[in-house]
Symmetry: C2
DNA sequence: CTGAAAGCGCTAACAG
DNA sequence: CTGTTAGCGCTTTCAG
């Protein structure tokens, strides 16, 4: 209980040398099947577990097989990514060192800790560091950023094709016959430029005008945009930068007495937990989170092991999740506040149409 | 760049021995002010950072000053706790090792990793391990569980006074004149028993009947309970087990054409991000998360350092956050579905009344 | 105060 | 195949 078994103990029990046990434990070549089995058995019997500290220290001059991951604990998106990261890293024989980003613990601090532990590579979720800083880090070790573009050739990226995501939304709406679609954009946020570009292109392809309005990342921003639209005249459909913005818009629009999707169709982005609420039931664009995680780990490992990977980016296709906030536009023009109100924003939640 | 400075390098630069540098770096007694300053300066000049792996290894027979923390990455509640944990641990000279709980990475696995790193104590967020398992761990090292009761004398606990939380809700509602209040309970969930007990006691104190209905932890459960209430006759107010349940209830009730809070007052529990949405704007009971974190760390450190702490539990007072889903009951009896509907569930969000 | 010396548990050559 | 031998970077006695 007090002291845990070491290599030495296993060696003694199996009647071999420490070195051999080490070889067997880490699956290195140089041990016969028979002894290997004996050693493994002995290890199991006394409940031997390698000491990661010692292992890490001893591996200073070789490979630590440690991947450092920063994440923002408050993002459900990151939680899902973490799941995928563990799933991909462990079978490949890599360990994960976690470093949380919190209001009082900035990215620099989080990364520093990871570096102290001699991680071999950095997998950054929710990075807001400037490209220059990332490039500087990348001179030291492989760096990969998820879900954000980085203008630095040395930094790897795994992200969703946000332009394609918005295109899906546009296709969905135009298939209903919508022509007057507004995009509430995300300003300088990660992915916002791509979404704007996708919107412009998709609308142009259909010969429709690409109306855009500054939206934002929060419910508040969505509400503000909604008030502007109500004043200026509603389109028949809105594609928001993300789900939170869409929810803010929904809220304001419903309170003004309009019906969704009868009077206005709304599409969000992210497939936030929020949007899945029966309450909200938002049609939205989802990212393939497990795939993002898998690719990120794979790319980093390939880099570490010298395997070829083409380019420095992996771009994953998004998918549309049709829920209750989209439908065909009304025949007439959109009504203004004051018309007969109805409670509820959408039909009861059914299963999502995809994933 | 390739190799980082070690104690040796600092020692050379400061013209002293390695041992002395070690003493100075970790603030141990035995170095004069002058040399201490010189050493620190030298360390700063070459950017020395102690190697945590080596430090941890060398401290095997003494104190590692490492606190192991498990957490569920998908809980915003845990994210807030983590923030507080870092804040409390670092000034006390303790490091934090994180181990995420994910669907594929159970609590046993997470704890095992922490043990491998020779954490001195375990701080468990979102633990679902049976009391017996926790007690077993507690024989090995100090274990503290947050936000859940544990029937094991050896396991420490820091939690919210959930009975008091429900009492706050009852007081708030009765101060409006509500008499017919139903509690949607949380079954076997952590905290559910306390909330039930608090409800019963608070209602009894006021000579009111303590109506309860099986609720649950999810929006779905809240919706089901709402349908039951609609069929059986609505009370004037409902206190849900948590915010998600409350939101499910709200959703169903609003769709049935009722108004909140005019026809029905609703109180949630947790101050979930969800409840803060203008959309939802739920009156709820909040936990003092920073305080929970602070106490947890303090208690564990006290235990490790032999400082006296009374009892094995810290119980923190909750607070009521009044938003838009509570008001005085209508003079007449509650209407049924079919009466004139109104859009929107509540007045626009104002600042919360507390924290 | 300071320096020498013995580990912490494991890895990684290198002879046998 | 197997045992020996150095470390990895830091902590911690224990004499000087």
């Amino acid at each position: 209980m007090g002291t845990r078994p070491t290599l030495e103990d296993v060696a003694a029990r199996a009647g071999v040398s420490r070195a051999l046990v080490s070889i067997v434990i880490r699956g290195a070549p140089g041990a016969s099947q028979a002894t290997s089995a004996r050693v493994l058995q002995a290890a199991a019997e006394i409940g031997y577990r390698p000491d990661p500290r010692a292992r890490l220290l001893a591996r200073t001059r070789s490979r630590t097989r440690l991947l450092g991951v920063t994440f923002g604990a408050e993002h459900p998106f990151h939680a899902d990514l973490l799941e995928g990261i563990y799933l991909a890293a462990e079978p490949a024989g890599y360990d994960i060192a976690l470093s949380a980003l919190t209001p009082s613990r900035g990215e620099d601090r989080a990364v520093e800790t990871l570096l102290d532990y001699r991680c071999e590579a950095l997998l950054l979720l929710g990075s807001e560091a400037p490209a220059a800083r990332l490039a500087e880090l990348a001179r030291q070790l492989p760096v990969l950023v998820v879900a954000r573009r980085v203008r630095a050739a040395s930094v790897q990226v795994v992200r969703t094709a946000d332009d394609a995501g918005i295109r899906l939304a546009v296709e969905h709406l135009t298939s209903f016959g919508h022509k007057d679609i507004v995009h509430l954009d995300g300003g300088h946020a990660a992915g916002a430029a791509d979404r704007r570009r996708g919107f412009r292109a998709a609308m142009r392809d259909r010969g429709l005008p690409a109306r855009m309005l500054p939206g934002g990342l929060t419910e508040q921003a969505g509400g503000a945009a909604a008030r502007q639209l109500l004043a200026a005249g509603l389109p028949s459909a809105v594609i928001a930068f993300n789900d939170r913005c869409a929810v803010g818009l929904l809220d304001t629009v419903l309170r003004a007495g309009l019906r969704v999707p009868a009077d206005l169709s709304v599409v969000g982005y992210d497939d936030d937990r929020l949007s899945r609420l029966a309450h909200v039931n938002l049609t939205t664009v989802g990212q393939d989170v497990p795939e993002l995680a898998r690719l990120a780990v794979r790319r980093l490992i390939a880099r570490l092991e010298g395997t070829a990977v083409r380019g420095r980016e992996d771009v994953v296709a998004p998918h549309l999740i049709v829920r209750g906030t989209t439908a065909a536009p009304r025949a007439g023009s959109a009504p203004r506040a004051g018309s007969a109100p109805r409670a509820g924003s959408a039909p009861a939640a059914g299963p999502a149409s995809s994933v």
